[in-house]
Assembly symmetry: C2
Homo-oligomer: 251 residues x 2
DNA sequence: TCGTCCGATTTATATGATTAAACTCTATCC
DNA sequence: GGATAGAGTTTAATCATATAAATCGGACGA
């Protein structure tokens, strides 16, 4: 059974089919993706010796990749028992790698809904905190994001990247390191959303709604900022719920 | 310079001073704690050869521990450059290990505030979701937590553990895997809070306030559930803010 | 029937050798 | 003089092999 091709090291001509910046990261990515997408769901996970052989790398590389996966909560290794996949509840979902592997699965409205259920908790509160604590640099950054969104309306910028820039700047303005950690979740959620929301309405993210958030932050009005942001994400969630009710075909 | 004692392997009588279940995990914990608590802030991080020598372990163990730390975002390793500590913004703060190392630092009201600023985003929304999606098993679990809190009032249970059980059960009732991930943050926050809040008021967590949350969830009223939970955590935050203003000596 | 010991399996650890990557410095060329 | 190509050096990356420790299952014996 040849589930995987060799990661490929330096080939005859010296080219390197990169799956990462070196063999270990290549294997990490390959295994992580395979685990999260359920390639091992039926049978059991291979032993470290089998892994090394299947991927054509040494045991050192294998062990280091496995150790990284255990650090992210995907695996657990014990002598004699072998290396086993941990139940999904133990995975570190906020790890950027795990997050990106999750998206390799078949697209699911469910995942998108969960993303946005999280966003509607985090971002309104982040806006409220930003209204209290944002410094002038933070305000400029949010404002710059908004400006890019306006430019995008005239085709002068990428609307998705502009939207992301706005939301990231806002998370940083909350001046709380935990909120800053949601950078990846939010940008991932937005990137995932785009191919979905665009199917429903032709509209991209509403500039006036975003402007309302910034205005409230500028006015140092936490409650108004929270409400404005809540409305923004509430709209997306309503869209998703509607799609779910209609059992809309997606992708 | 002997910053660290050897991790200690099997000693004379065969006992093992465990800093983890094996050498790699011992080193992981030791290095993680040292990094997060700032032991390396002045100088630069040792090379892998130096680490191995300083801790009296082999290069394999060292490399695997370092790889786990890079997986958690604390380190980055490149040839010729050596192994370097990543800026704190890149640390995976939601990783349970990182979270626990964070608490090894000198207690700071700041950290406690950040914890609860996060909780006030997550938990009210979790309560609202629970009001919509909780199944009967979830309701029993939350109810059991509340019962334990009541028992604790009569000295029949541990008030802190009862409180934690309540909040964890609620997170799980939201039926969203991302919310479930906050188990560690919330229990850590509560454990940290206790030694702080107890200094201010003699009161432990209010049973009626918690009961109000459960009642709203039972009544399938998301808005009421959100408000009730918001009030609960808002109280804690108010306490912290007050303490901060008075620059209260802590611990 | 129960416990103890033995053997097999798999990860854990150690070590030596070699390779590749990345930075520094220098000497050379224009 | 300044850019630039190349050599040299440092450090992680990789490979290979050997040995130790942990644990499971079954055999054996009281």
């Amino acid at each position: 059974m040849t589930l995987f091709a060799p990661i490929s090291k330096t080939g005859p001509e010296g080219q390197r089919a990169v799956l990462g910046r070196n063999l270990t990261y290549g294997l990490l990515d390959s295994l992580g993706r395979a685990i999260v997408t359920g390639h091992y769901d039926g049978g059991s996970f291979p032993t470290e010796a089998q892994l090394a052989q299947q991927h054509g790398v040494s045991r050192s590389v294998t062990r280091e990749a496995v150790k990284m996966l255990t650090a992210k909560g995907l695996l657990s290794a014990r002598p004699r028992q072998g290396t086993v996949i941990q139940p999904a509840e133990l995975w570190n979902l906020f790890d950027p790698d795990v997050l990106s592997w999750l998206l390799e699965r078949k697209f699911s409205v469910d995942l998108l809904k969960h993303f946005n259920q999280l966003r509607i908790a985090i971002e309104p509160e982040a806006a409220a905190l930003a209204a209290r604590f944002a410094e002038s640099g933070d305000l400029s950054a949010i404002s710059a994001g908004l400006a890019r969104m306006r430019a995008a309306e005239d085709g002068l910028d990428n609307p998705l990247e502009a939207d992301i820039a706005f939301h990231i700047a806002l998370l940083l303005a909350a001046k709380n390191p935990f909120y800053a950690q949601f950078r990846d979740v939010v940008s991932t959620a937005l990137r995932t959303s785009i191919r979905f929301t665009n199917r429903i309405k032709g509209r991209s993210a509403s500039v006036p709604d975003h402007a309302a958030v910034l205005d409230a932050i500028r006015a140092r009005d936490p409650d108004a900022a929270r409400d404005a942001m809540r409305r923004l994400i509430g709209d997306v969630l309503a869209l998703i719920d509607e799609a779910e009710r209609q059992n809309l075909p997606v992708e």
